[in-house]
Structures are given as structure tokens and as C-alpha cells.
């Protein structure tokens, strides 16, 4: 938490309303997202109780497991969920574009990708558990399930994994997406309650954020947004309804449970759509489209592999795949942090406040300054910037700038209110700079040590070459009947 964000929270307390943390939106919001509000039975590892799911806020599909401890009903639920999710997901595979690459063959990428939106982070985790409990199943063998179930399991796993991938928008938790853009007047622990956070951001007319958030804590007014249900609801409403079903599994008994669960799911459903509306209303940051391109690539890749019959994702990462995933995630984290700062002056302001960036007006330039002699003589324009920012950058530090993203610069000198920098990359080969390449005196500029400088990680061994230090080659995974028939009770 930066001082800037802390101040925003203080203001939110006083104003009774959440305050902006960004000037633009840093996640992609799909034109056709799928909202998924799952609920689980308390006390169980991953026993689905119900889910509200769909792409149309006006007509959600409500799936219910009238007896959550019944294994057959669970698989029926999974098959029904697959009926909703799979056509949505696979539909995006129909339209593709050809992407040209330098030094590599062009490839096909889906023009758009699915976006799964959950009310909160726990919902994402539950999605992962549902995926884990279904992806190893098989349509044949001793424990057959509907063929769509294992496919659904792979996709749910895919979505849950992408959620922990920095900068990815294939899966959004509404609370996290909102908290990235708004500071509420409560703590971040309380922000995990979607209704409370929305109360601060979008209070009903005539109410302050605090009043709205207080109401949101009353489970009778605002049931929890899942996957956990309110214990009072469990004890007073759900348990008798399930007991009635156990005694007589009639349509009426099912309907009673559906009604009960609908009352819990509907508020979260509406809030999640409203959250998307609020996010969509923000202008997209400059790099959002580029990150969505990667998301589309990741989606296309997984779609292709699934179609080719790749085995389900492993239970845990092997040594090599763990290291590979870590490298990708770290790379994505660094990119995401830098891109947000470059796309958004308010995010950049956090670095200015800590002295890792500065903004100001150019007071002097030496555009034709060079270094080296003869053939190795290089153009290294000098730019002096007057700034009020508390600069804490040592001479020699590499800098980037949102204004000229192809360029790289270096701190030459920091001297009471002015910083002199030297442009070291992106000046081309000419003897004089191209017009506009060097900022003019009077121009407002911003430089930062936060850069999206990509250093490729070295190759990893093939899994079958895992060295002795890491346990040697792992046994090859062969899907078994045991996996397929794993108890789900």
C-alpha cells in the first residue's frame, strides 16, 4: 500500500464514497463476459450446491444440486454447467486471425476470447477445485461420466490458473478488479465482501458508502457472494429444504431449494454485472489491448491442445513446469507493473512519490551530444528536467519514459530540483536526432526507473532430463481409472 493509496482511503472515509486509484482501466472487459456465481455446501471440500451462470444479466441460468452429498447429482450438475460453459468457450474458437512473427512461422489466434467473471477471489479458488475434481474423469471405463465433464474440468482449471497470472483478464474476480481501480473507506479485508466494496463505490441514492457497506454486512439484506453460504441461511432455510428433499425428492422439493438458493445468488449476480458496468465505463489503459492479445494467444493455445486430446493438467507442477511457470509469471508481473505506470499518470505518481520516477518541464537540452569517437561515435542527447518530485535515483540508473516508449535513458546528475538525463537507446543511427525524438525545452516529461526491460530466462531441461538435485526424471503421467474414479463425496 502506497502513501498515495492510503490518502485515497482517507478521502474515501471523509467523502463517504470510494476514490479513484487510477485514471484508466487496467483490465480488459469483454463485450460478452460470462458471469459465474458458484456456491458450495459448507464443510465439504468442493461440493457444489448451486451456481448462477450466463452471459445475459437478464436471464441467468440457475443450476442446483438438491442433495449436495449425492455423487450422481454432482456429476449431473457438472454436465449441466458444461452445457452452459463449453459452447460459450468453444464458440470463440470459430473466428481466428493470422499473426505474423519475426523469425518464426505465422500462427492462428482467436479473434476474441472468453472472459469468466466471479464475484470474488474465493469464487476463483472454488472454480479451480471444481476443475480439479472433474478434469480427470472419463466418459468410459469403470466410472463413466458425461463426456463434457472432463472437458469442463480442464477449462475451469485453465480459468483458475489464468487468474493468478499477472495482467491476465481471462478470469476476473470482481472484488480484485474493483479494488485495483478504487480505494474504499474500509480495510482491504473488508473489501473482499463484494457488496460492501460496491457500497463504497456505487452507494444507493441518499446513502453514504459507509451506510451502504454496513448494510452489506447484514446477510439477510446482502447474502454473501459465495462460494460460502451464510451459516444462518444454512441452518434456517437450506437444511430444512434439503431434508424435505431427502424425505421426498419431488419437483416441489427441488423447487423449494431452488428458491432458497436463488435468493442467495441473485444479489451477487446483479452486483457482479454492475461491477463490470462500472469497470467498462473507465477508458482502457494503453496496454490493455496488448495484454488481451496475450490472453487470446493463451486461450487459443489451450483450445488447440484440448482439441488435440492433450492430457488433463497435472495435479501439481513438476520441477520443470513449476520453474517455467514461475519465470512466465515473474515476467508478466514486471510487465504489468511497468505498463500500468506507463499507461496511467496516477499509478506513475506512486513511483514519483517514492522517488523512483519524476515528472517536470524540460529546461535545457543538448540534442546533438555524442559519446565515443570515430565509428563508435554515438548520439547521446542530454536533457535537463526541472522537477518538484523527491528524486531518489542514483547516477547511472536506467530510465524509461511513457512519452517515448522505444527510448531508454540514463541518469547523469540529480541536483536540487533538476535532473539531467542522457538518452541511450532508440536514437537511431543518424548524426542528428529525428524530429521529436528529443524533448523540447518547455515540454513536460516523465522518466522512471521502472521499466519493462525483458531479460529472457535461460532454457530449462526437458522434464525427462530433470537433474538429480531435483529428484531426477519424474515418472510419466498415465491417466488411470483410479484418477477417473476418485471419490467425490
Amino acid at each position: 500500500m502506497s502513501a498515495l493509496a492510503a490518502l485515497a482511503r482517507l478521502r474515501a472515509v471523509r467523502e463517504g464514497r470510494a476514490q479513484r486509484l487510477t485514471t484508466v482501466r487496467h483490465c480488459h472487459v469483454s463485450d460478452r463476459p460470462m458471469v459465474f456465481v458458484p456456491f458450495q455446501l459448507a464443510g465439504e471440500a468442493a461440493a457444489p450446491l448451486a451456481a448462477m451462470v450466463g452471459t445475459d444479466p437478464g436471464s441467468p441460468r440457475l443450476l442446483v444440486v438438491p442433495q449436495p452429498r449425492d455423487r450422481d447429482l454432482r456429476f449431473a450438475f457438472a454436465a449441466e454447467l458444461a452445457e452452459v460453459v463449453l459452447p460459450y468457450v468453444e464458440g470463440f474458437g470459430k473466428v481466428t486471425e493470422t499473426v505474423e512473427r519475426r523469425n518464426a512461422d505465422p500462427y492462428e489466434r482467436c479473434l476474441d476470447a472468453p472472459q469468466l467473471v466471479l464475484p470474488n477471489r474465493q469464487g476463483v479458488a472454488f472454480t479451480g477445485l471444481l476443475g480439479r475434481s472433474t478434469r480427470f474423469r472419463r466418459p468410459d471405463g469403470p466410472f463413466p461420466v458425461h463426456p463434457s465433464v472432463p472437458v469442463l474440468g480442464r477449462w475451469l482449471t485453465f480459468f483458475a490458473e489464468r487468474a493468478s497470472y499477472p495482467g491476465s483478464s481471462l478470469t476476473l474476480a470482481a472484488t480484485d478488479a474493483l479494488a485495483m481501480h478504487w480505494a474504499s473507506g474500509q480495510s482491504d479485508l473488508e473489501d473482499a465482501n463484494l457488496a460492501a466494496l460496491m457500497g463504497w463505490i456505487d452507494p444507493p441514492p441518499g446513502r453514504t458508502g459507509l451506510q451502504a457497506a454496513e448494510e452489506a454486512e447484514d446477510p439477510l439484506l446482502w447474502p454473501p457472494a459465495g462460494p460460502a453460504t451464510d451459516p444462518g441461511f444454512d441452518n434456517e432455510v437450506l437444511a430444512p429444504a434439503i431434508e424435505a428433499y431427502a424425505e421426498a425428492p419431488t419437483a416441489a422439493a427441488v423447487e423449494r431449494i431452488r428458491q432458497a438458493v436463488r435468493s442467495q445468488a441473485e444479489p451477487a449476480w446483479r452486483l457482479t454485472w454492475r461491477a463490470l458496468e462500472l469497470l467498462r465505463a473507465l477508458p482502457a489503459g494503453g496496454s490493455v489491448a496488448q495484454r488481451w492479445d496475450y490472453d487470446r494467444g493463451a486461450f487459443t493455445d489451450f483450445l488447440t491442445r484440448t482439441a488435440e486430446g492433450a492430457p488433463p493438467q497435472a495435479r501439481r507442477d513438476g520441477a520443470v513446469s513449476a520453474a517455467a511457470r514461475l519465470a512466465r509469471m515473474e515476467r508478466a508481473r514486471a510487465s504489468f507493473d511497468a505498463q500500468r505506470a506507463y499507461d496511467d499518470p496516477l499509478v506513475m505518481a506512486e513511483y514519483r512519490l517514492t522517488g523512483e520516477a519524476f515528472a517536470g518541464n524540460v529546461v535545457a537540452t543538448e540534442p546533438e551530444h555524442t559519446e565515443g569517437e570515430g565509428r563508435s561515435r554515438k548520439l547521446r542527447p542530454l536533457v535537463t528536467v526541472a522537477t518538484a518530485d523527491p528524486v531518489r535515483l542514483a547516477p547511472g540508473t536506467t530510465l524509461g519514459t511513457p512519452d517515448r516508449r522505444g527510448q531508454e535513458a540514463e541518469v547523469v546528475e540529480v541536483e536540487g530540483g533538476t535532473v539531467t538525463i542522457k538518452i541511450t537507446k532508440g536514437m537511431g543511427r543518424g548524426k542528428t536526432p529525428a524530429p521529436g525524438a528529443v524533448p523540447e525545452v518547455g515540454e513536460r516529461v516523465c522518466y522512471t526507473s521502472v521499466t519493462d526491460d525483458f531479460q529472457a530466462a535461460a532454457a530449462l531441461p526437458e522434464p525427462e532430463m530433470t537433474p538429480w538435485t531435483h529428484g531426477g526424471p519424474p515418472p510419466e503421467y498415465v491417466p488411470t481409472d483410479e484418477d477417473a474414479g476418485e471419490e467425490w463425496s
Binding site: M1, A3, A6, A42, G43, S187, L189, D234, E487
Partner: protein
Amino acid sequence: MKDRLDALRGPVPPLAHDARAIAALAANPGCARRAVLDAAGVDKELTARHVGFPAPFGRSRFAITRGDAFEAQVKESGCAELLRLLREVLHLPIPEVAYHDVSDVGAHLRHSHTRRLIDRAARDDGDAGTFYDHPLFALEIAGHTSYLEPDVIAFRLGGRFHVVEIKSFPVIDGQADPVKVAAAARQAAVYVLALRELLRELGHDPMRASHEVVLVCPENFANKPVAALLDVRRELAVLRRQLARMARVEDLVASLPEELTFDLARDASGIPTRPAAELADALGAVAARYAPECMSACDLCFFCRDEARACGSTDLLGRHVRDQLGGVATVSEALALAEGAREPADGQDEIARLLRYAGELRAECLEGLELEGAR
């Protein structure tokens, strides 16, 4: 001292601390209010309800049923399933194991019966294993003896005792919810400590109660149990520290007004009759240290949060926000510093400068946005 604590509590027996409550002592040791209430054995849950801020900790009966069923399953047929797990997790070829259900003797004798059984086992050098189901341990907390009644089994093998903790949260592909595992470890540490105290009293080496606890949970999505060893040395150290702190609560109590009491003034049928506002005032006489984390650890959390709101405390926003604000304790003071409406007091120059600059940066960046009408 004991009289003073009795007076604070009123004419009811002190609330017995169970292992969960003892483990929770470390949740917010900086909170004087909680320290005093706990030391006096005040029923915080009832107190919170009476002042109009009931605690948010309901339990679903599905979870309770499931927990009970799982525990029963693990203990079935003289802990047969458990024995299989222990063989695996302790890597021991245990041929057979005796099973003692301590509760056979009736509740009032359970503690002395547990003592006798443990004493006998500790004297016995044999290598045969024994389970002790429903043992009853005692632990001295701030001058009162708390009886610990675990869903836990002490397992003795080759002269060493292991505490077995049965929990119904799942272990999926080797991982479990770290918050729940931590809570289980803290609770199990209370039993280890009590067992060590017992061994010490009986003149045995307390270290024969192992710091390695056996955690038994359902595996993956099934009911099949799986066991894991938990090293609770850190939790034991924390627990010892907190119990030592409880003993020092005297200083806190000595500074409280003479007539202060949290007595609920229960009538004959046990219904509190103390005026709620008066009780709230009494609570207010002991300083709390509210943090949002209290919401998952203390019965009084809503009361304290409300109090923190009433005085505009920056604690409301969380420890890391408070941390960013240096020493500034209230929202209005911090904002006044940020907006230059207040001269920084001694030592506030830096935070004032930082907040002012943060304010300027926000204004600079958000300029224009307001005009667009975007929120």
C-alpha cells in the same frame, strides 16, 4: 489480584478457556481490552451481544455434521483407520495398538484418569503403542485451571507421546488452507503444552510429548483420511509467551478504575440486566487496539470497530495503511495535514510533507477527470 479479576467479571464462574480460546490469545496481544477480559474470564460473546454488537461467527450445521462424522470415522473400531495412517506418517511398523477411551469413567473423573493413564504409560518402557481417546488435560491460565477437552487423541509409542488433531478441512493434492492449518497447529500446541505440564507434574521428562503433531484431514474430495506431521515448535514458543503475558495483566488491571466491572448483572434465569450503555462505557474504560484482522478472531470486533469509527481512527483502514501514515492516528488529522489545514506537530513534518505531496500528485493526475463526470 484474583479478587480484582473476580470483581471485573461479576458473580459468575470464569468462562472456561478451551484450546481454541487459548490459541486465540496470540491473535492480538497488543489489545489491553481483550487481555483484561480474557484474564478475568469474561464471556465476550455474551458481552458483545448485550451491547448490541453480536459476533459474526455463526457455524453452519452442515459443517458441524461433517466434522463430527469425519472424527467418528477416524476413531471407528478403536482408531483402526488412524493406526494405518500413523504407520504411514511415522514410518513405523506398529504391530498393534491398545485403545483407551478415557471417557469410560465419566466426566468428573476424566482428568485424574488421564493423569493415571499417562503416568502409567510414561513409566512403561515397552514399545507397544496406545491411543488415549477423550483425554482431559488441565492448564493454568491466569490463576484459573482450564480443562482442555480435545477431539484429540494422545498417542504413545516407544515412550513418546504424539498429539493427534482431527480436522475436517481437506488436504487436496498435498495442500491445505494455510490459515486453517495454522489454526490447527496453534490449537494442537495447547494440547502439547498441557501434556508436557502433566508429564512434568508427574515427574517425567516433559519433552517426551513430541512437538510433532499428527494432523488428520480428509484427502482430496473424499472422506478418506490422510495424515501429515506438523512441527508446532513455533506455536509452542508463541503460546508460552502469551501465557507469560497473561500473568503480567496485573499491571493493566491495577491502572483501571476501582469500581470498574463487566458484570452483566444476570437475573435468576441468567438473562443480563445491566444497562447496555453502562456496559459499553465499562468496556470503553480499557483501551482496545482494533485492527481489521479482529473480524476473524474476536467476539468484540464489531463493538471495537464501531468505536474506532466513532473516533475516526486510521486503524480502521488496516495495519498497512496505518503504517504508511507514520504516527497519525485519526483520519481527520491525516487529511488536515495533507491539505495543509493543520500545522504539523513535533515530529510530523515528514508525514505532513509526504501526504501533502501525495495530495498534490492526486490532484494533478485527476484534474479533468472530475469534469468528465467519471467516478
